[in-house]
Symmetry: C2
Subunit: 263 residues, 2 copies
Amino acid sequence: MKLSIVKIGGNIIDKPASLNQFLKDFSTIEGAKILVHGGGVLASELGKQLGVVPLMKNGRRVTDADTLKIVSMVYAGSINKEIVAALQALKVNAIGFSGADGNLMTAKKRAPEPIDFGFVGDIESVNTSLIQWLMDAGLCPVVSPIGHDGNGQLLNTNADTISAELAIALSDLFEVDLYYCFEKHGVLNDVKQENSVINALSFNQYETMKEKGSIADGMLPKLENAFKAKKVNVNVNVWIGHASRCLLATQGKAVGTQILDQH
Amino acid sequence: MKLSIVKIGGNIIDKPASLNQFLKDFSTIEGAKILVHGGGVLASELGKQLGVVPLMKNGRRVTDADTLKIVSMVYAGSINKEIVAALQALKVNAIGFSGADGNLMTAKKRAPEPIDFGFVGDIESVNTSLIQWLMDAGLCPVVSPIGHDGNGQLLNTNADTISAELAIALSDLFEVDLYYCFEKHGVLNDVKQENSVINALSFNQYETMKEKGSIADGMLPKLENAFKAKKVNVNVNVWIGHASRCLLATQGKAVGTQILDQH
């Protein structure tokens, strides 16, 4: 059985018209599907309004207690519920999740060395039987990037990583297609040239580009996760592309960057 | 089959020690259970930090677009996820909900006359088959008071009303006990005397007290809802009491105020 896992990034979520069009496209995907969303831009905005300045290291947010509250509110509260309500209006039986809900995903607080990211977690386990059960019931999980450690602590968890970990965990049960949708048309050969999209990227090419420093900050965790999913199970198909076009790949069209396996 | 529906109020939620003790007590309730929470105090605090002043009419918040965003963040985001994570640590398989998630509850935006409450909704329907399915799976819904209209609009919905509507809708499928837990020891004969708790309150007594003006603002919707649930199905048992003691009623102990039927 086919399962589409779609990640939508923060730079689309903060633009209502783009988000609405994206959700319309998402609603037309047939079969089992999961939507994973970020929301960093809106979290930073709220943080600024509240006088909490976002601190980023290696493209990832450092999460102190105040920031954890902000991301819980923005990701699992307003963004998640607005998306779920919009999908319900589009006749998708969406149901919002954090990792804590139904124990969907447990995460482990990251060690404070070499960089202390604060209340940031890495996914440890995915509750695949819960997801199977949701799929059987025709529900569509909408996953916000908030994890929990099973001991009552919420943890900020990277949405790109969640998407890859879901793809990996579910690849035994489903034929998984993973889509990273954001504001670029794919992985760019030259970050200054929007039209320099690489149609297919191998791990070797990626390594070379990384060494040359030609991959921008936010793209690093995305590609790291994409190749991780591909490494664990080469049958997971991964695309990276623009929110307005990436889902055309569900119709077999060549769009954005397709991730190739290690060779 | 027995179902306990428990409402916990905003004046407990904002006190971590009280909330933790309450959740411990809640975790010991045997059988099917649903937790409904408010969070008005924390929403007002965030609103104040953001320069949005809360406006109340008849004990209910007036919800403009900014306020809707705030309550979505606070109720469905931070409070809901903190409670779910805490219950997971207590080995309750909690799963957070707004009305939009899985289309749990649809609400209708309240008519602007006689008072325009803004984005406030009244419950129209409850997805009882979804709840039955969650109960069969051993999940415990934790419901935040955010509804949706099915057309993509989130609506602020009173948590006391949600609790009563859930009790009414589920009373055909379950033997429902409904607990309103808050910071008072029950309905007070004299609002200035904390120890003047009425052990059992009939509808006639309530009407008389209301006429005399001896029921405080926040208690009005609670009692209105309690008697509504009782009127629709006299087999729904309703208690109102302090968060630290009200759940003792699950063990058959007499605590707080028990709501009697119409006679």
